[in-house]
């Protein structure tokens, strides 16, 4: 039985000529897990907000949305609030109250549920989610992943039948994101809650979902099983670039049959379809320059006297004109290391040198003038003015010198830009001080695949101009493509360093999907490009093994 039916839905924002979503029809069966994907600005969020009455934006709407056979606008208030749950992107901003237990109770309190009933349902939910340990804590103490789980739990206590999620994992690190997604899957199979979720990070969700909806410029261009959608859209690299590695490989090699989605299926696809007479590609030798741009030697740092060391004898060297990626789990101290490098935190022991000069010898903040600049994780903290134009004027940035174009954004408010646009604008501001050493903290957080490719291009151009870039990131695929050298951060220090090809083929978990897919069959294949080259070099097997 279908729980949600959308037919002929068109929506235009006030003072816009083009509709944000146009003529969309689809339906979702009870208990289905549907994923909605598409580039930023394709109308995903608008569409999702049309499905939740309380969040429907103002504008001109045509067509109908019916929930369980009833037109959405005809639902009683309380039923509409409780039966359709909505989780948004930013974990922090959806939280309303200060305590975890109060946040869980919030929805039920609004619905006028009796206090005993509230206690019972919350207890149940806290046990299901394993929230028991942090039930009494302040929300502020939770990590991003925990906050997002709390947001989900505090909606589930209202026992929704349909759960709508708008890029819920965009702000989470990969491990928290995988955790979140497996929780969703569990909800779907244990409780048969219907889920519709917009997502950029498709590697994990596409293999799990029952239905993949693809949007492009306000239109719904695909709506069926994931493997079928990939076969249909083989000719659309702009859309496929966000899909799982196995699917992209399949599309690049124009494979036939149903598309592989998981690492296991991808491995099967390669091993059954392609020879491995040539096992590896010739490796271009990377030679770093001789002079160091940044040097850490035996750096120790802790936040308070009683606390433990966050940086525990950290030593590494970044050479001039290279892109250096630092990878590592949550709470391993990566961001702390970057803040110390930028002179924002003072280590209690050890030496940090930038271009051969110790940090404390940069007097009167000369460090930040034409030398070093840092782009923080939360790029919104970079913006101070009400238009991009004013932002750039303030720091005397010259957009003609940038290696990319943002002239079309000049009159917008920085908070209104999409994640990728914000990142580029913030970068423009940072580059205004003409740094020779650029520190980036999670530059791909919350970006779609297209925006990531864009950033990679920009970083390469900067490198050509002679800028040294140090990136702290969780994003393995991103590091594999853009880094000259990668480093693994663990327990407050760097435990291994290497060029991406050997670095990732040595790691067995913290590595790219392609590396996991081709391990033991090909050597040193890390990116999709590597795998595609190797496969076409080796050629198809004449008779596929049965």
């Amino acid at each position: 039985m279908e729980i949600l039916a959308v037919s002929g839905l068109t929506f235009t924002y006030p003072q816009c000529a083009e509709p944000a979503v146009s003529n969309i029809s689809f339906s979702i069966e009870r208990g289905e897990f549907a994923v909605l994907c598409g580039a930023t600005g394709s109308g995903k969020s608008t569409l999702l907000r049309m499905l939740k009455r309380e969040l429907t934006p103002l504008g001109e709407k045509n067509g109908s949305v019916s929930f369980g056979g009833v037109e959405l606008s005809q639902l009683p208030d309380r039923r509409s609030a409780s039966a359709i749950g909505f989780v948004m992107q930013k974990p922090e901003q959806q939280v309303v109250t200060d305590k975890v237990w109060h946040e869980l109770a919030f929805g039920l309190e609004n619905l006028g549920t009796s206090p005993d009933e509230i206690s019972r349902r919350i207890a149940e939910m806290a046990s299901y989610f394993g929230i028991g340990d942090w039930y009494d804590r302040d929300v502020a103490e939770l990590s991003g992943g925990q906050k997002q789980l709390l947001n989900l739990a505090s909606i589930l206590v209202m026992q929704p039948e349909l759960l709508i999620l708008d890029e819920p994992t965009a702000q989470l690190d990969p491990i928290a994101a995988a955790d979140f997604i497996s929780t969703l899957r569990r909800l779907c199979s244990d409780l048969s809650i219907t889920i519709i979720m917009a997502e950029h990070r498709l590697e994990d969700v596409v293999p799990l979902c029952d239905k993949l909806l693809v949007m492009d410029k306000g239109q719904l261009i695909a709506n069926s099983k994931p493997s079928e959608v990939i076969s249909e859209l083989k000719e659309r690299p702009d859309i496929l670039c966000g899909m799982p590695a196995a699917a992209r490989l399949y599309a690049e090699l124009s494979g036939s049959g149903s598309s592989p989605l998981t690492v296991r299926e991808g491995r099967d696809f390669i091993e059954k379809g392609y020879n491995n007479t040539t096992r590896g590609l010739p490796q271009a030798l990377y030679e770093h320059s001789d002079s160091a741009a940044m040097e850490f030697s035996d750096v120790f740092f802790r936040y308070s006297r009683e606390g433990k060391d966050i940086l525990d004898g950290l030593s590494f060297t970044v050479y001039e004109k290279e892109i250096f990626c630092i990878l590592g789990g949550n709470g391993s101290g990566k961001t702390t290391a970057l803040s110390a490098a930028a002179g924002l935190l003072k280590p209690y022991s050890g030496r940090i040198k930038v271009f051969g000069k110790r940090l404390k010898d940069y007097k009167n903040r000369s460090l930040y003038r034409e030398c070093l600049a840092m782009l923080p994780q939360d790029v919104q903290t970079v913006f101070l003015k009400s238009t991009v134009h004013q932002e750039l004027d303030e720091c005397h940035a010259d957009i003609t010198e940038l290696p990319y174009d943002i002239s079309h954004l000049m009159d917008k408010h920085p908070y209104d830009l999409s994640g990728g646009e914000q990142q580029l604008t913030a970068l423009a501001k940072v580059l205004a001080s003409k740094p020779k050493l650029l520190l980036l903290d999670e530059p791909t957080k919350g970006l779609d695949a297209g925006a990531k490719l864009n950033i990679i291009g920009v970083l390469r151009k900067l490198k050509e101009k002679g800028v040294t870039v140090v990136i702290v990131t969780h994003d393995v695929e991103f590091a594999a493509v853009c880094a000259d050298r990668c480093a693994m951060f663990f327990g407050g220090r760097i435990v291994s360093t290497g060029e991406p090809n050997e670095f990732f083929s040595r790691n067995s978990f913290y590595t790219t999907a392609v590396s996991r897919m081709t391990r033991g069959y090909y050597d040193n294949a890390v990116t999709i490009d590597d795998a595609v080259k190797l496969c076409s070099l080796n050629g198809r097997k004449e008779k596929p093994c049965s």
Binding site: Q93, L108, L344
Partner: protein
Amino acid sequence: MRSFSEYNPIVIAVWFLSVTGIAMFCNYPLLMVISLVGAVAFFVMRNGLSHGKTHIFFWVLFLILALANPLVSHNGKTVLFVMNHNPVTLEATLYGLNSAAMIIGVLYWLRSFTQIMTSEKLLYITGALSPKLSLVLSMALRFVPLFGRQSAKINAAQTAMGLYRDDNIIDDIKGKSRVFSVMVTWALENGIITADSMEARGFGTGRRTQMRRFRFAAADIAFLLTELGLLGITCAAVGTKSLSFVFYPSITAKAPDMLGVLGLISYGLMILMPMILELVVNLKWKYLRSAV
């Protein structure tokens, strides 16, 4: 067996209100002494010998308050000595001591009150009055530190971008004011999303209820009833002038009558209640542990 701080917040609040209320509306010296000694004992029992600074601050304040009155007020018959052509009287000195005891006693009570009444308990009490008020408080409690953290983040980001060009005060102030102005925008932006999230979860669809995290157990009711009984006797004594004490022009105190004595005893018992409770709890634990 719970200790006093784990009792129902309403019981705790009523107890604090009655103890401090009586201390504030009565000026009978013996009652003030009971209140002050009780307040200090209660504070020390909960905190041990820590919080030295609090103690020093309170007792210095006590001295200042006690000395200020005779220097300012020259009422009273019995002149002790003359200072700068102004008489310093016995009555004014005693009055000063008495009111200093009252104020410091109440300050000690309030100190213990803020330690025991965590934000959660205050929310529970306000929630009993109005669920909406309680929600507003809860949101404010979350938002104030959030605002602080975000502005620290923005400051760090701007520093690392070279916004503060020079290391001087003027540049710093300029930077800070820019950060403040963007914080207002950020707060509004944030508020819109929070409001969306509230509406999506059914805020404003009708009467709100309030989740109860604290229950009324038999012990709570027993405590509350005893407390109210004792309060009644004390009030009767204070209200019917059985405990009257006149400082000016000369000290006249009649010996307290039966009701007065009863009132003083009840007040003392009321103050002792949580301490007795704590003692019993400790003893029980000891007994239980030795039994194991």
